[in-house]
Subunit: 339 residues, 2 copies
C-alpha cells in the first residue's frame, strides 16, 4: 500500500488538520469529539443541516460546510460511521433554535448512529429530523446524489425554510435522484492495506458503491461510449419523467479519475440522456466530489428538477425553486459560486 | 491500460466535447483548429491572456478560461505541444486590441511553438509578448506555479494593466514561484498504453515533472511528515525571503490523488514552512489543478507574495497588489470565487 500518510491510525485527524489550516476562513474543526462546523456557527434562526459518515469520500461532507450548504459534517474513521456522541456534539454546536436536519447516506451504520444521535438530541430538547438519501439504483445506497440534496437544502435553509419544509424538500429531491457507479480499480483502506477488490486488466466493477464493496456485476471494459450510455440508460429508466422534463446531471469522479476521463464521460452521458430520453439538461456538475479514497471510476447521477407528468400543480409551484436553490450562492471548500 | 475513453486517437476532442457541454456558459470550443476561448471573447481593450500545452494536465489550462483568468487555452494532444497554427488561431480569436500575452510552461516544444506563433501573430500586426514559467526547482520546467501566474495576471489584465505591465508582473510572479513534485505511480498516455515509469511497492519518484518523465531520483516512501517536510524544505531554500515574509502555498494533486492525502500533505507543508522557515502563509490552495493524467502524487508550490528583503521600495508599491489580484473575482470551470 502506497499512500502519502503518516500512519493508518491518524489519517483522518491528520487530514483534518490540513483541511482546517487550508480553510480557516470557512470552518472550525473539533478534534474531541471529531466534527467540522462552519466558522460562524450557530446561525441563529436558521435550520441547521448536519451530515456525515465514514471518511474517505472527501470532499463530501467536510468540503460542503459553509454558507449556503452544510452547518456541520461529522467524519468517522475511513469507511466507518461516526459515533452517536460525535454526531450529537455537532448538533449541539450548530443548533440555532430553528431545529436541525440530519442528512444521512443509506448505510446501516450511518442510519443507526444518526438515529441514535437524533434521539439523544431530542431528549435534550433539540428539535431534530432525519433525512435518508438512497440514490444508488443498484443497491439503494446513499452516493453522489447526496451532494445535490445538500446543496438544494443548504439554499432552502439559508432562505428561511423551516424544519418541516426542509425535510419535505429533502425527501422530494432524494426520491428524485438516481445514481450508478463503475470502477476500474478499487481504493485501499489505510488500516486494511489491500484494495477492496482486484480486477483483471480488462475488467470493470459495474454498479459499484463508495466503500470498496463489490458492485452489481463484473463486466469487460467497453469503449466509454458504450459503457457510459449503458450507465445513463440504467439511471434514465428510473426517472419518472418524460420528454422535455428538466434534470440535473452530475458526473462524479471516485478519487483517482482524471478530469479528461470525467469530461469525456460527461459529454456522452448528457448527449445520451438528451437524444435517447428526451430530457432537458438544465444544470450539470463535473468533478470528484463524492469519492472512495483513490478509486478509479466514476458515477452518473440524474436528479429530476421538474417534470410535468409527476408533479401535481400545487407541488410544482412549491418545487419550482429547485433550480433557483441549486444556483443560489454557496461558499464551501469544494463548491463555491456567487460569493 | 484501463481508461474511460473511446480510443486513444480521439481522447482530447472527446473530452473537449464534454467540457464544452458542461461549461457552455463560460467557454466556446473550436475543433479545427482546437482551442478554447471564453464565451464573451474578444474582450475589447483588455490584454488577452493565452496559455496552452499538451493535454492531460486538466483542469490546466482549459479549466482556467473565463472572466478574471485566461482568454484562451490551446490544448495539444496528450503530453504534446499544440501547433503554432492552433496557437495563432486562438490569439486571433481573443485579441481585443490591447495586445496578447502568451503564458508558456518551460518545455522545449511548447516554447518553440508558442514563439513561432508569436512571430506569426506579430507579422499579422497583433501585439504579442511571451512569458515562460519555469517554477520546478529540480529541472526548471513549468508546473503547478503556472496556475498562480495565470490567476494573478488574469486579475491584473481584468483591472486594466497594459501589455508591458502584464509581462512585468508575470515575470515577477514566475520568478518567485518554486515547486517540487513527487509521484507514487505514473499515469499512462493513451496512445502509449503503458505508464511513464514503474515503481516498486515502496518507491516514490522524487522531483517528478508532469509528463511521466522520471524524476530527480527514486526514493523509499517515507511517512508523509518526513516526505513533505523534505519537499517543503527543498522549495524553501530557493525562496529569497526571510522571517515574516508572505507567501502563497499550493498543494496540488497530480490527478489520481484523493483529497484526504492532499489535505494531510498540505497541513504538514504549511506547518513546516511556518515553523522552520518563519514565513507567513497569506493564501493557500489545495486540490488537483495541474495534473499528469491519473498519476498518483502531488506537488508543493510556494510563491512569494511580499518579502521585505528582496523588494525595493518602488517595486513593493507596484507589487503590493499580488494578494489583491489573487483574491479578485474569477469565474472558470476549475477556479471560481467572488462571482
Amino acid at each position: 500500500m502506497k499512500k502519502i500518510i503518516n500512519e493508518p491510525a491518524t489519517v483522518v485527524v491528520d487530514a483534518l488538520r490540513g483541511f482546517e489550516v487550508a480553510h480557516a476562513d470557512l470552518v472550525r474543526v473539533s478534534y474531541d469529539p471529531v466534527f467540522v462546523v462552519r466558522a460562524d456557527a450557530p446561525v441563529r434562526g436558521k435550520v441547521a443541516l448536519v451530515s456525515g459518515g465514514g471518511s474517505g469520500h472527501e470532499p463530501l461532507h467536510i468540503g460542503f460546510v459553509g454558507p449556503g450548504m452544510l452547518d456541520a459534517a461529522v467524519p468517522g474513521e475511513v469507511f466507518t460511521s461516526p459515533t452517536p456522541d460525535q454526531i450529537v456534539a455537532a448538533v449541539r454546536a450548530v443548533g440555532g433554535g430553528a431545529g436541525v436536519l440530519l442528512i444521512v447516506k443509506n448505510y446501516t451504520g450511518d442510519v443507526l448512529n444518526f438515529e441514535l444521535a437524533a434521539e439523544m438530541a431530542l431528549a435534550e430538547g433539540i428539535e431534530v429530523r432525519t433525512l435518508v438519501v438512497a440514490d444508488d439504483v443498484v443497491a439503494q445506497r446513499g452516493v453522489a446524489g447526496t451532494l445535490v440534496v445538500e446543496k438544494i437544502l443548504g439554499a432552502a435553509a439559508a432562505g428561511g425554510a423551516d424544519l418541516e419544509t426542509c425535510l419535505e424538500i429533502g425527501r422530494h429531491v432524494a426520491s428524485h435522484a438516481f445514481s450508478i457507479g463503475v470502477a476500474l480499480e478499487a481504493g485501499t483502506v489505510p488500516h486494511v492495506g489491500s484494495p477492496g477488490f482486484v480486477l483483471g486488466p480488462a475488467e470493470v466493477e459495474y454498479g459499484v458503491g463508495i466503500h470498496g464493496e463489490p458492485g452489481h456485476e463484473r463486466q469487460e471494459l467497453r469503449p466509454a461510449r458504450a459503457l457510459v450510455e449503458g450507465m445513463a440508460s440504467e439511471v434514465a429508466v428510473q426517472l419518472p419523467v418524460g420528454r422535455g422534463d428538466r434534470v440535473l446531471v452530475l458526473t462524479n469522479g471516485m478519487g483517482g479519475t482524471p478530469p479528461v476521463e470525467l469530461y469525456l464521460a460527461h459529454g456522452i452521458a448528457e448527449r445520451s440522456l438528451v437524444e435517447h430520453w428526451g430530457v432537458v439538461v438544465e444544470r450539470r456538475l463535473v468533478g470528484s466530489f463524492v469519492t472512495s479514497l483513490e478509486m478509479r471510476g466514476l458515477s452518473i447521477t440524474v436528479v429530476v428538477l421538474d417534470g410535468a407528468r409527476i408533479f401535481l400543480p400545487e407541488e410544482r409551484s412549491r418545487l419550482a425553486r429547485l433550480v433557483e436553490w441549486w444556483d443560489a450562492p454557496v461558499r464551501t471548500a469544494a463548491l463555491r459560486w456567487g460569493m
